[in-house]
Subunit: 139 residues, 4 copies
Amino acid sequence: MKSHTSINVRYAETDQMGIVHHSVYAIWFEAARTDWIRQLGMSYSQLEQSGILLPLVDLSCHFIDAAQYEDVLDVTAQISRLTPARIQFSYTVTNTATGRLLCTGSTTHAWVGENFKVISLKKHNPQLYALLSASIGEE
Amino acid sequence: MKSHTSINVRYAETDQMGIVHHSVYAIWFEAARTDWIRQLGMSYSQLEQSGILLPLVDLSCHFIDAAQYEDVLDVTAQISRLTPARIQFSYTVTNTATGRLLCTGSTTHAWVGENFKVISLKKHNPQLYALLSASIGEE
Amino acid sequence: MKSHTSINVRYAETDQMGIVHHSVYAIWFEAARTDWIRQLGMSYSQLEQSGILLPLVDLSCHFIDAAQYEDVLDVTAQISRLTPARIQFSYTVTNTATGRLLCTGSTTHAWVGENFKVISLKKHNPQLYALLSASIGEE
Amino acid sequence: MKSHTSINVRYAETDQMGIVHHSVYAIWFEAARTDWIRQLGMSYSQLEQSGILLPLVDLSCHFIDAAQYEDVLDVTAQISRLTPARIQFSYTVTNTATGRLLCTGSTTHAWVGENFKVISLKKHNPQLYALLSASIGEE
């Protein structure tokens, strides 16, 4: 399962090099993650309200080409790895008009409950764990 | 009582015009507000932990000249108005090297408690209200 | 002429109060301005490439209610004032699901050319000036 | 050669999880990089004005613990790798009060000239290349 999120590059997202600042891609990844979870049939807000948070453990971005103001981009998200304690998403950012790949990246998150205590999602919410497993073709 | 906060302009704060993006000044105002409250002898974190929040009601910025990457700026903050329900801060942003005034602004905040319910600070925390009143020369 | 821009609130746009940080509204106003100009039949990028910049002179925001993560918002933009040297836009931010007005604001911009020299748009680009005038019902 | 940059966490840098948003660390890394270059005896602004840009090719962050509003942090930067075409910086973010390590990261940059054309720094600016090489104990 892969989600697609359309992004219109904002002026404030550029820097004096005339291109989008690299810190912005992590924010787009997050918007894509939000859409991926919604496509799964729930919302990240609901997840948080149920007491589960997903803080980042690792972030990596590989920049291939620049995005510019007013570009329309397609950001894809999908799960690339799932364990009872962690989840990893992978992303691509593509310029919609040119089809050019601009950036690839991944984020690894820990499943945590109240006070940022690490939890096993498999025990804490077996239904969601099964749903996520199924989305990457695992039982 | 006026506070001074030193800001080093970050690359990410610039936009493709080659100057600091206007949305950043509100963030600097907030950093200055934090320092002003600390100078009063408390911290905004403590205030929040005591159940008082200060969401914005009004923001205004008047831009006179541009700030640029690596500029060192002096941001001043002071209270310009206080009522039991509201507090207004006023700010200036000056280029430290040239002495040139770049921006003036103000923010008006409501005193709210849990669930964003408006409160009277005078009733809720008379000590703090007296302290703030004294800082602008009122009894 | 009024433009409508749809905004999906991003997680990174929230702060620890659990609502969208006030500095973000200026960024949404800018996205709305971009759409307004595109609706006029040109792009702000083209305007910049023709040597005209529109730095802010004044920004004001009036906050009525909070926006939250995953909210879908409608941001409107329209010109509220035009002179040969300046242009003022006015904005509203509304929660699409509830219809509740969250924020109103305005930005005033100077027409400047190279090196941020103030220009008269009426002289510099009479066609664009006429087009903008027409959009607010002036001759 | 290692540089130290002091950061006061801003309210706008937090998100609704009550901690600093992960996208902000890349901005702090950049502030640390600016200080590292200044410690070398030049400024990144001068470098840019000489026609050399340093866009990112790779970014990685490993998050160990959270930073919070009003925390004072120490961000270190140093070069971890240098080739004629690329430079890699490594960073640490530590809570100054507790001494706790919060984040490690690295950024790899390409040396590019006008129009983002890749250049060999060794040919383009041998003096700077020698200076950078010396800073990591290479000839």
